[in-house]
Symmetry: C2
Subunit: 292 residues, 2 copies
């Protein structure tokens, strides 16, 4: 039987630790970390994520400041709001839920967030620090999804150094920072993507396979080495019939689970870890700015 | 016969282009790019590099401001100098020749350089921008050695997309930015290093092999696929006898040249490209700050 990496449980453990830490901060400083959550418009998936993030933040004692804006807001007004939040000492982390309406330039908006308040870890300064920093990740703002994947891997208590890790996908949000994190752990790291030739055979050699493609159940058993560890970043909604749908990952779980050493399920794998890591970043931002 | 990637010639071509561009800038703005070169102490290799960089900069019409400081300078005085240069409009690029004396924290010093004047492309903000930016590299400050390697590859006029690229080494100065640049070119990119298992067999599968290990003639023909492209970043001085020494790369050229499609020699390969790319960065810094 494979290890099923229970993201819900592991995220809860991290949230429990953060809760205790934040209670300690409150006693010591009479302050708690504050997270501003900005949602523009009413994309259904965004509303689900924002709700889940807000709920989790409150659970651990983070003060959430919600900004739900009209879809019609213009870019300058959005940036003005971010500037206010940049200058507000009660706000330690700022999260802009993506995607933004097409009339708004996401990169410009994300870059307007003060790097020290960049709860998602997407600002180029934080991206650069993650790449350069060799060892310590304690004070870094790290993109939540790949860091969540790393925490799942660490839960297995195996030595990651020298492992052959393959990351499928090269997005700024997952693939690239994932590769940096695995390199820091001294894995041999390969990034494969849409232009890769023989992608299956490269994946088949991976000791650790991270699937972040965004294609439902794309990775089947022919892609996976016996005894590998598979982390599934995908969250895809597929129709079962006219009325019902379900969430599946990028990995064909039912097939792959039989040959792996460990695998993360969807839902209940990477998803909860992403949220927990957002709370971690917010707490780190608080500690960095208050020099705790 | 393999293609020998003549770095001296290709660097000269880039310098000729920069010279013309800078002449144009001078006519248009009555200004030329300025590069401040800081050397601390008298490490022999550093003196050689500083001399070569200064000479090349002057050749293309860049104004060089030399700061040769005593080995005993303290970190604060060095940072004060950098701050002055940060605020000096005649200075577009600042280069701190490494290594610095052990009493000085290199990271702190490098991070004190204004990112827009960071001629070496080592500041985390520039590292992050390089990682995030998908296509255009025209306005980016990119670490000089890996960018020089990429320009050598481009000289072959082959389609890099889908090529299996292996980078040996994971330094901040070469290996990591090299991997980012090759990923941008849509290569499948693997980074191998001291902890990698079966490093030889991984390298043997590479269509493009970048050697940045710092071990003289370490990569022999058993590491290299027939028809591969090999870029040798190493510059190692080895003794021939009691009196004589010579420069060799990380690749055993005499053996490997017989099986490859193309290879860069040492000296005369990556080295001149590194210097030319420093001049490129300085010119880009000038154009960015003057909005040309």
């Amino acid at each position: 039987m494979p290890h099923i990496l229970d993201g819900k449980k592991i995220a809860q453990k991290l949230k429990d630790q953060l809760k205790i830490e934040i209670e300690g901060i409150k006693i010591k400083c009479n302050l708690v970390p504050g997270l501003a959550v900005i949602q523009v418009g009413n994309v259904a998936a965004s509303s689900v994520y924002v709700k889940a993030k807000t709920k989790a933040a409150k659970e651990v004692g983070i003060n959430v400041i919600d900004h739900h804006l009209e879809e019609s807001i213009n870019q300058n007004d959005l940036i003005n709001l971010i500037n206010q939040l940049n200058n507000n000492d009660d706000v330690n982390g700022i999260l802009v839920q993506l995607p933004l309406p097409k009339s708004i330039n996401e990169e410009v908006v994300l870059n307007s967030i003060e790097p020290k308040k960049d709860a998602d870890g997407f600002h180029p300064l934080n991206v650069g620090k993650l790449s350069i920093n060799q060892k310590n990740d304690e004070s870094l703002m790290i993109p939540c999804t790949p860091y969540g994947c790393l925490l799942l891997l660490r839960e297995l208590n195996i030595n990651l150094a020298g492992k052959n890790a393959v990351v499928i996908g090269r997005s700024n949000i997952v693939g690239k920072p994932m590769a940096q994190l695995l390199l820091k752990e001294s894995c041999t790291v390969t990034t494969v993507h849409s232009k890769t030739i023989n992608i299956e055979s490269i994946c088949k050699k991976a000791d650790i396979l991270i699937a972040a493609i965004g294609k439902p159940e794309f990775v089947n058993k022919d892609w996976v080495k016996k005894g590998a560890i598979v982390i599934d970043v995908g969250i895809n909604r597929i129709k079962i019939n006219e009325e019902k749908s379900k969430l599946v990952g990028d990995v064909l779980f039912s097939e792959v689970e039989n040959i792996v050493y460990a695998i993360s399920p969807v839902p209940g794998g990477v998803g909860p870890m992403t949220i927990a890591c957002l709370l971690r970043n917010t707490t780190i931002a608080f500690k960095n700015s208050n020099k705790i």
